[in-house]
């Protein structure tokens, strides 16, 4: 009855050949069809930001995009931030060192958001980063250490 569309997704440099209903959001396709469960769903209406991924380098809400719309795009998720299993991305390292996470549910969204922005704007100052980070909700940290970690990462990434 319902339409199923074969689809090619490129996520973190890997190719995934999947078949989805058009109503499958990108978030659900990443989680259910690609097995990449680091992308979390906190509200499914675009406010909390836990599902933030980079689509062609730009941060987007993967709950507000259908998987079919990401065909052939380059998607980057939290699993694709670290260069390898031994090394963390500077933003991950900074979150670790600055206690930038507690329950960890919002963390992938913040990491992807901050990494994506800092890679394009390495000179971002704190005011600018607070405005960027205000797109995502965290219920545990009060954001203080998220901001601190982000600015530490920015400094490292500038070097």
């Amino acid at each position: 009855m319902s339409q199923t569309i074969p689809l090619r997704l490129y996520v973190n440099g890997d190719r995934y050949d999947i078949a989805v209903e058009p109503r499958r959001t990108l978030a659900d396709a990443l989680r259910e069809d690609c097995g990449l469960t680091g992308t979390h769903l906190g509200c499914e209406h675009g406010v909390c930001g836990a599902c933030t991924v980079l689509v062609d380098g730009q941060p987007m809400r993967s709950c507000l995009m259908f998987a079919v719309q990401a065909e052939d795009a380059s998607v980057r998720t939290v699993e694709g931030l670290a260069p390898d299993d031994e090394t963390l991305h500077p933003i991950q390292q900074a979150f670790w060192e600055n206690h930038g996470l507690q329950c960890g549910f919002c963390t992938p969204g913040f990491l992807v958001l901050a990494a994506g922005y800092l890679e394009e704007h390495p000179d971002a100052n704190e005011e600018e980063m607070r405005e960027v980070l205000s797109s995502n909700l965290c219920r545990c940290t009060g954001y203080q250490n998220i901001v601190k970690a982000t600015m530490c990462a920015a400094e490292k990434m500038r070097r």
């Binding site: 469960t37 406010v47 060192e97 206690h99 996470l101 507690q102 329950c103 549910f105 980070l133 954001y143």
Partner: protein, 798 residues
Amino acid sequence: MNMSEPQTWTGQALPRLEDPAILRGWGNYVADVASRDSCLHVRFVRSNQPSGRILSITAPPHVKLFTAADLTGVSPIRAVLERPDFVAVDTPILATDLVRFVGEPIAVVVASTEAEAEDALDLVVVDIEPLPAVLSADQAIASGAPLVHDVEFPGDPNTVVDGRIHTPGFDEAFARADKIVTIQVGSARQSAMPLEARAAHAAYDRSSGRSTLHATLQMPHMTRTGIADCLGIAEDDLRVIAPDVGGGFGAKMTLAREDVAVVFISRAMRRNIAWIETREENFMASWHSREQVYDVEGAFTASGELIALRGDLMCDVGAYCCYPVTYGVEPLMAMAELPGPYRVGEYSVRSRGVITNKCPIAPYRGVSRPVQVLAMERLMDVAAAELGIDRVVIRLKNLITEFPHRSPSGLVLDQASHTETLLAATELADLSDFATRQAAARADGRYLGLGISCFAERTGYGTPALAMRSQPITLGLETAPTITPGFERVILAMDPSGGVTLRIGASPHGQGLKTTLAQLVCDQLGLEPQAVRVIASDTDATPYGWGSFASRAMVIAGGASLLASRDLAERLRVLAADRLGGLASDIDLIQGSAIRRDTGGQVALSTLARDTYHNAQLIPDKGEPALEFTGVYDPTGTFANACHIAEVEVDSETGAVDITRFLVAEDAGLLVNPAIVDGQIHGGVAQGVANALYEELIYDDRGILITTSLMDYLPPTVAEMPHIEIAHLQTISPQSITGAKGVGEGGTIGAPAAIANAISDALSPLGIGVFHLPATPHRIRTAIRAAQNRTAQEEAIA
């Protein structure tokens, strides 16, 4: 590092052991467990009426539907306190005949995917005959009000808890007061709103007949007890696992009807079943809190001494009774703890819990203490103004300075630093500098304010304290067994390779408990924290324990871990002394070895461990061939304390409040991991800011919740949060063997009052005080407009 000195991990801001996996996206939350399984998915059919009778539930034949009639052999949830004023009500797993709040689960649809379950949900038709509803506490207790539950109420209608304390000297003290200060404070309904909504995945094993429930929980053992009792199965037929938990804040300590249903359906269908709650459901049905109104009177002497305190405390507890702590949790905590850090002399209080046709309440970070502190701290500021006394001075006059202190409600407050934290915070705040800035701003038509909030936070209380809530009675009531949470138990073992495993009954959900417990244990064993594997949140793998709530884990699970690790360390010293000669007391455990202090002789702990298991003939004194120790800790509790100071600027045109500075002087005893403690304070304050200014669950006049999205219910973003400055004091109390006090709730408890006082200070030239939270821009602007109109009228008259 000096090899001869034992390393001390306690007190270090060690990066958390939990983090690397989460940072890589390898966290394992319930939805992730479900996504790896080809399980069926359910959605709950929920009531759209606050009160009504279910006439029919229909669905097309292809929809797999479970209703209450299908839940054969399932008992309702019943939580009771043995108090004469306590009225118990049952919570059916699915509404049977009547619905009592919008969002109440009525039926369950089962389908292959979440989307298909929602498609099926669209096809279910429930015919509900509306019945009169009670939507506020005032309505509920009115004579002749409709009853939310058809049970007998000894007092007013719908009144399920009615606690009273009246100290013998109250009337006399109240009568001789120079000044009676009367205020009313209140808080709107709020949601703990963990970023991960509820979720459950029940797996059924055909070969054993056993179920495994993965759910997002704070109390896995208690959840297993509750579900097993409801389903009438033995507890060992059910394994409960809380994998990574995306925030709890109290909301995940209460047994969910939905979790019971999911396990039942999985067993009935012999299939694996998942339920991933939507955000909308989470707002409607996953517990509310804090809808409370307190009328408070303080009897003061002319010099500002509070000699008697009267309270009439009203908590709207919603339609059902939360398990295990019951809907007595808010009113009874308020009754016991209202005086807070102050010597109130005499005390008279009535504290009620009243049921209404709204979502049931359950504990949320702070429970009723944010409102208690709001009451006491507004009282202090109003009294200071009315008596012409400085607001710091009036607090200093009344803060408890001698410990232990027995409160008029019978609590014993242990060593704390109320005066010192107040002074530390006011010094940081530089009150005279603020006064200068405030005066300059006022001359400029701008409204700056500063608010102070002092509080005592009861933490780490075990069975003795929780048993006090129940007063044993002799009437032969037919009730469920009472439940008195309290102790924590751990099992600490060293395996043959020298690896250390700590199995705990507590169940962390983001607090970093695995790291902090490892720090405590390693100080005893002379190991690095990375060498300790902490296993939690799995009823098959951990000893029975209560879980993580009420700012208790570091105190109680920490205490139990300390006891067990002392025993293991002593055993290792005995074994080493047997090898190296000398006495056990001559042995230090350093960096994985046991070293004899005088000779320097040493043996690896792994050698001692391997021989214990594999060469039992070498064990001295016919000891056991194992290195395994149990630690149990069940303290009466210890009070952390703090002083918060908020500075705000109020935009008089829009009513917006900008928090320009926020200070916390905190005393949580010994800081095991200062970074984690600060993180708890930051997060707690954020929820306090939310309580004070942003968050409010709103029912319309038909009893329908209208704040069901994050566009209507407004947790603050980073843009709304001030930078928080923290100063630590560390009072070591004998009531906590680790020296640590709980710190999980303090931020949320103290911040709302500080902000309310700051706004009131800012708007004092207009005669405006903030007593009800959240103080939304709309409410503040409305008050300012009224004040401006009053002034304009007065000027016109003059």
